[in-house]
Every structure is written in C-alpha cells, then in structure tokens.
C-alpha cells in the first residue's frame, strides 16, 4: 500500500536536493548554513522514525539554532536573465502553463478517480495519504515533462528548487513547528484552561451575548492556536453544547458549522496560521512578513459580524 512513508522518502530526496543546490551556490555567503538546515530536514524525513523522541527534539533544537543565529542566507545568482526568460516565453507561449497545470490536474482527476471508482476499495493507496500521494505523482509527472520538453541542464531542478527554498527559508518549517507547539499546548492543558476561563464568564439570560462570546471565543482561541480545529472542541464544550444547544435550544447544525467558520475568520488574522499567512509572504517575497494578514483583516472583521448574525438568526429564529 502506498502510504505517507513513500512520500517521506521522496520529500527527503527533494530536501537533499535543496541542501546540494544550496552548497553549490557560491553567491550565497551563508550557503553552509542553508545546506545544514535542509540536510537536517532530510534526516528528519528519512530517519525520523528511528531517531526516538529525544533525538527528534535535539534535531528541532539544531534547526532552531541555525535559524535563530541568522545562519540562513540566499544567493544572488540568477540562472537565466530577464531577456532570456522573455524570449523563452514568447517562443513557447501558453504551452508553458501546461506543466504547471499537470499538478492540479493530477489532483483533480486523481481525487475523482479515488472517490468514484473501485480504486478506494482496491487498497493500493492509503486513504489518509491520498491528497499528498496525488501531489507527489503530479510533481513527478511535471518534472518528467519539463525535462523531456525543455531539456534543461541536469542540475537545473536542484538549483531552481533550492533557489526558491532559500528565498522562503525558515518559513518553510514554521507550520510544522507550530503544529508541534500545539502538541505541547495540549500536553500542558492550555485548551482546558482556556475553556474553563471562557466558561466562567458566560452571561446568563442573553442568547445574543452567549452567541457573541462563542464566536469571539472561537476567533481568539483560533488566533492563539493558529488553527480552528484545536479551538472548536474546547469552545463547543465550554459554550456551544451546554449553553447554546442545550440551555437555549439552538440549531446544532448552525452552531457547529458557523462556529467553525467564525474560527476561520480568526485564522485570517493570526501569524500562528503560518502556512496561510506567513509562508505566502515569504513565497511572494513581500517586504512585510505580516503583509498578507494586514490585508485580510478588513475582510475578516465584516465576515465575522456576518457569521455572528447568521448564528443568531439561523440558529435561534428560523
């Protein structure tokens, strides 16, 4: 069965490529820092299951030490000039989009095939890993097409991949680090503490105030955890179920769904949701690492108000 371990092997090879590509770039003064950083991630992907918990913890501290001492840099080398790229794009035209579209197309067709044919029952692919398996398949297909069609130098994929990896830098592992922080928060009982705090300030008698507290609690807790998934069970236990559904008789479907969506408004406003908010700022090479969040706040706040209104009307008055 194709499961996550296959992907870890492939991803480890890609990260090894980032390490080699970084070491090959003399225009980056800190190239050995970059090579060590991607090398450690390769070790984690390939051998993480054999290192033991403490071993993995030490690996995390080493990654943090490299990033925290500003030992990551980026090269100034450009593989092709603007003129060469312009010339290539006018020669090849819109067919250049095709390899880029292979990845979403593979995801699209693969998801449909997996869900609506006997493929799922055949047990070839682990259902939990299916989206990532399709991503990996798409990437391999696209790479093959690029090499056959564009005939780049052999090391081009390594060099171009590490060019992008080094422009994103430490932000690439921030989502995984935040997920680990979530594990520590859970182990130290942060969720239950917040639930107890919110539960203690519940206003009695006003349905609207209870709705407001539920939605705002989802937002604040999501902003802290960076993830509405962590917030929902806590807020449901503190307010959603005992007060809104049992005491005030609200529609459970609305309380559940729109409560989660109120949390998503919080996701738009927090640096803790790094893969949505911080990583794109790095990926698009923005000067301000909070540039994406800043622009999302004016959408998130009216949308939160809309969600509170939906919770109140659809939950209690329909």
């Amino acid at each position: 069965m194709i499961n996550l371990h296959w992907l870890y092997i492939f991803a480890g090879a890609v990260f090894a490529g980032f390490a080699i590509g970084s070491a090959r770039d003399p225009s980056n003064a800190k190239r050995w820092g970059n090579a060590a950083f991607w090398g450690l991630l390769t070790v984690s992907l390939w051998f993480g299951d054999f290192l033991g918990d403490i071993g993995n913890g030490i690996l995390v501290l080493a990654l943090v030490a490299i990033a925290g001492t500003h030992s990551l840099g980026r090269g100034t080398r450009e593989s092709t000039t603007v003129e060469e790229r312009e010339a290539s794009s006018s020669r090849r035209g819109n067919t250049l989009f095709l390899p880029a579209l292979v990845i979403p197309f593979t995801a699209f067709v693969g998801t449909l095939l997996f869900n609506y044919t006997p493929l799922k029952a055949a047990g070839i692919i682990d259902p939990k890993a299916v989206t990532l398996v399709l991503l990996g398949t798409g990437v391999i297909l696209a790479l093959v097409i690029c090499y056959v069609w564009l005939r780049p130098p052999a090391f081009a994929a390594v060099d171009e991949g590490s060019r992008l990896a080094n422009s994103i830098g430490w932000a690439m592992v921030l989502p995984q680090m935040l997920a680990s922080l979530g594990v520590i928060f859970a182990a130290a009982g942060v969720g239950t503490t917040i639930g107890a705090l919110v539960g203690a300030i519940i206003p009695s008698g006003s349905v609207f105030l209870a709705v407001l507290l539920y939605a705002l609690g989802m937002v604040v807790f999501t902003m802290i955890m960076g993830n509405a998934f962590a917030a929902f069970p806590v807020m449901a236990a503190a307010i959603g179920v005992p007060i809104l559904i049992h005491q005030d008789g609200g529609n459970a479907g609305v309380i559940g769904a729109v409560g989660m969506l109120s949390g998503f408004c919080g996701t738009l406003m927090t640096p803790m949701a790094a893969n949505f908010n911080i990583v794109p700022a790095a990926l698009l090479e923005l000067k301000n690492q909070y540039g994406v969040i800043k622009l999302q706040i004016p959408t998130a706040i009216p949308l939160l108000i809309a969600n509170i209104v939906i919770l109140y009307i659809a939950g209690f008055h329909l």
Binding site: A129, V254, L286, K287
Partner: protein, 223 residues
Amino acid sequence: MINYWPLLGIALVVVGFALRFNPLLVVAVAAIVTGLLGHMPFLKVLGVLGHGFNENRYVTIVWIILPVVGLLERYGLQEQARNLIGGMRGATTGRLLIVYLAIRQILSALGLTTVAGHPQTVRPLVAPMAIAAAEKQRGELDEETSERVKAMSAATDNVGLFFGEDIFLAIASILLIQGSLASFGIQLTPFQLSMWAIPSAICAFLIHGTRLLLLDRKLARRK
C-alpha cells in the same frame, strides 16, 4: 485548582512575534517554557516537542513542488502569465481576483482543496497575472502598490479556500464538528452541517469581492 501558568507560553509567542524575533526561535522557546510551567521535566518537554515534530512531517511535504515551479520560472512562466493578461482587454486586478475567488470557492466546495494553493497557483500564476493587470491599469507600479497586489492575491486564495471547503461533506473540519458534537450525544449528518456553510460562503464572496472592486478603483485613481 487549574494551573494558569502555561498560559504564559501564549504571552511569549505574542510578544516574540510582535518584537519580530525569528519565529522558529519564538515557537521553540514558547514550547519549552509552556512545557516546564506545565510541570514537565525538560527531557520530557524535548521528547514531546520532537515527537510532535516527527508526527507532523506531512505538513512540510507540500514543498516538493518547488523544483517544478522553479524550473518553469527559469523558462519564463511568470513572464508568460503577464503576457496573457497583457493581451486581454478589460482585464483588471480586481476582476481577475474575483474570478479566482469564485473558482477557488467552487473547487473547494467540491472537495478539490489541493488543486490550488500558494505554491501551486498563487506564486507562479495568480500573483504575476494580478501584477500585470495592475500595470495595465496604472503603468509602472511603485513598491507599495505591487506589495499590496501580491498580498491581495494570497489573501484571495485563503478566503476562497476557507469559505468554500466546509460546503463539501467529507472535509476534515466538517468531520471534526460532527465528531465533537457526537461526543456530547448530538448526532448530526455531514449534510446538516455543511448546508449551513453556504450562507457564510456567500457573505465571504460578497465582502471580499467588494474589497477587490475597491482595489480596482484605487488602482485606477491614484496616478
């Protein structure tokens, strides 16, 4: 008696991010402090951190896409995205992003959340197209404007994903809601939940769409 001290870890994260220390360092320090305040010995904290990191490796797999994006950029992908928009009459940044918002919401509502995303579509395609459209609207862009257009492209992807995916029945968040409510004895079908994601999805399209139209007006005006 509840131990409130681990909440100090949250405060550390907030302060660390606000002072713009390296976020990896902030998160690691907060994790260790939170664990120690939660009465875990240091080695135990280190083990939980390492275990959590190892279990969450799948989060980092998405970066296997970078070599493909980089290769195509080498051969002028971003330039071609610009050329395509440059040749389109009536293309503006706002209209382009509204179309993208609608597509992203609809695909997510069909469960096709990984078809698009920041590395897959925003960096190689959507952001260069939005920049090209903005250049058509007002010529050469100053740095502030181009930052704004790029950030808005990323924001539009997020809004489209978040406020589309819950309409799909089998998405993780719907299953999580169903599971948590079931643990309190409240039995719901996924449909009873996902139908209530539709009003919010419509509001998200209207609110963010309005902001995109306002961005167009701003781009047209400030010369």
